[in-house]
Symmetry: C2
Subunit: 370 residues, 2 copies
């Protein structure tokens, strides 16, 4: 990591070294409040997805505003959040192998721990390891609705639920029904159709579970692009949005639904023009090691005539189509194309309010891949 930080609390925003990851605290706090408001009195909990931010300071604020806990994708991520004081963590992923399962079970002495399953063998392994440790783990059956992991809806889900429920060291906690590809379908109609399908899959799976005489306490899923649809589905009772705290260019490219909550861009990459090879081009110091390009290039904040054209490792090319180009040494704010992998590039988030740095938050679970 860098031997120095990009900024310290109290610094002026204009003095932040670049490239740096910045959080606009006013916009961030409004995003947190919008989410809390959208779920209040609806009988639907928020389990905030911490894979987006990997930052305990953010997770603790989400819990303080009513989130039941967090979810994350890796056992090592879960360990970071448990260590930070989060007491309810769901790993929204399949975990296989006795080494990983042993670490997962060890976390259960300090927090409620859940995990997904889509096959019998890892369930048996987990049951054995949890029993040895005297732990009880929440297990959710993942139902495949987005062509990734998961069992088919209906009877296969019920069958795995029965297996889980048969172990004293496991608790069948419900169904995980997440439609990933739906999150970035551009039209509201496409997103609605996709979540109708996911809801149907959840319903038929729940009914199959109930028909086996089991309870189906939680049906969880959803992301920032669709969670209002799951909220209103009558089936889901927990949503897992994560990116809403930051927003990114890819989410902003979605056409909003009529009830869109207007989450604001709160996360930025501050970058400096380090070369001006022509009047129409500026080269900035944030390339693909500073802003992930897997979901397209970052946007340029508040400069419609400037376009981030392409990225190499440590350079970004800004094309200036209308306005005058930025000057050598001038700082710009970029909107990351995809917030999750961009945050994962940084050790710290520089939090600002107005024109001052207010805090520097460690991205404590950055690089927690295991």
């Amino acid at each position: 990591m860098s031997p120095w930080s990009a900024a310290r609390p109290g610094d002026r925003l204009t003095d932040v070294d670049t490239p740096a990851l910045l959080l606009d605290l006013d916009a961030f706090e409004r995003n947190l409040e919008r989410m809390a408001g959208a779920l209040a009195d609806r009988g639907v909990r928020l389990r905030a997805h911490a894979k987006s931010h990997k930052t305990p300071e953010i997770a603790l604020r989400q819990v303080a505003l009513g989130a039941v806990g967090i979810c994350c994708q890796k056992v090592s991520e879960a360990a970071v959040f448990v260590e930070a004081g989060v007491r309810d963590v769901l790993i929204t992923n399949e975990v296989v192998g006795s080494g990983k399962l042993t670490r997962l079970v060890a976390l259960a002495s300090r927090a409620r721990i859940g995990v997904l399953a889509d096959a019998a063998a890892p369930v048996r392994d987990l049951a054995r390891i949890a029993a040895s440790a005297g732990a009880v783990i929440d297990v959710y059956v993942e139902v495949d609705v987005g062509r990734r992991c998961g069992v088919p809806p209906g009877e296969p889900a019920a069958e795995l639920a029965v297996l889980i429920a048969g172990f004293e060291s496991l608790r069948f906690a419900g169904l995980h029904v997440y439609h990933g590809p739906a999150q970035h379908k551009r039209s509201a109609a496409e997103r609605s159709a996709a979540i109708s399908f996911a809801t149907d899959c959840a319903r038929v799976s729940r009914d199959a579970v109930l028909a086996r005489g089991l309870a189906c306490e939680t049906i969880t899923g959803a992301g920032t692009g669709t969670f209002l649809l799951e909220r209103d589905s009558g089936i889901y009772n927990e949503v897992q949005a994560g990116s809403y705290v930051f927003m990114d260019r890819d989410y902003a490219d979605n056409q909003p639904a009529p009830d869109d909550l207007g989450f604001e861009h709160a996360l930025f990459v501050r970058t400096t023009v380090m070369s001006r090879p022509s009047s129409a081009r500026a080269i900035v110091d944030a390339g693909l090691k500073a802003s992930s390009v897997d979901s397209g290039m970052p946007g340029v904040w508040n400069q419609p005539g400037w376009r981030y054209l392409k990225a190499s490792d440590e350079h970004g090319v800004i094309e200036c189509t209308e306005a005058s180009p930025p000057a050598l040494g001038e700082a710009l704010m970029l909107i990351p194309g995809h917030c999750d992998p961009t945050v994962n590039l940084y050790d710290e988030i520089i939090c600002f309010r107005g024109d001052r740095v207010e805090a520097v938050w460690p991205v404590a679970a950055r690089g927690a891949l295991l």
Copy 2:
């Protein structure tokens, strides 16, 4: 970062937790020797590019095998390598702003430090800051041959050289002429044509510098895809290859030239199958936070019938076209699509020889963006 490491020295390779970044030490050492052999007695130095590996253990081995020093892209990266004992570091990038320049100058008390320039104002700033500190900094004029940073070839380069040479606190060290887009042109003929062009640009710039009565000590550039061409150009006397220590899928996709040195894949992402949703598909635990996808998907090592089809944040989809699909819990080795940003995702490189882990090297400059 993860609260635990993927492996410890002495562990069996089959016990390494996943996803993890692995280095095959035998292949890596052969790559180092191939490079040293290719430059021996040619009057061309290696200045190894450390942006690829960000790992002091590797830089020190490169220097021990004859590299004059390293280059890197950021002041904070340079600081990490100076701290680790590298005594000659060139920042192959423009650096602007008094904060960054002050930190750059501070490094010159412990190492020879160089930097690029393509504009007058930052040169004046650097000269002033270096003079205040009593330091002397090597400055190279960057000549633009790949449509990124740099001044046009010829007179503009000479003009900037004259400006640099006029400051006592700066030393005009030569020309930086790097053709980035040439590195991954697929045919040897295209790469050769591109480097002929770069060589012409370097020659006309050098001649313009000499015509001003200045020496032009070093002409530096080149990457893993083309460095034999620069070596044989009669103009370049320093090459900056970096990826050759690892190789990646993107470099392997180049059609080799007749004198290709046969660098081997030494860097891998070890990953585990965590779900088997169908007979033709396996989901692995290495997604785009474990292997950068900016230059395409990773390859699957030694399994021609298996293809890494797509990546989401923490999942990779493996399609099995011919062979039988990998089993749940089975580990695979991926060849990163692009080694530089992939290494930048990891805190440690797990070094193995045969079937045993031999060392764990910190990626000390990972995330050194400033």
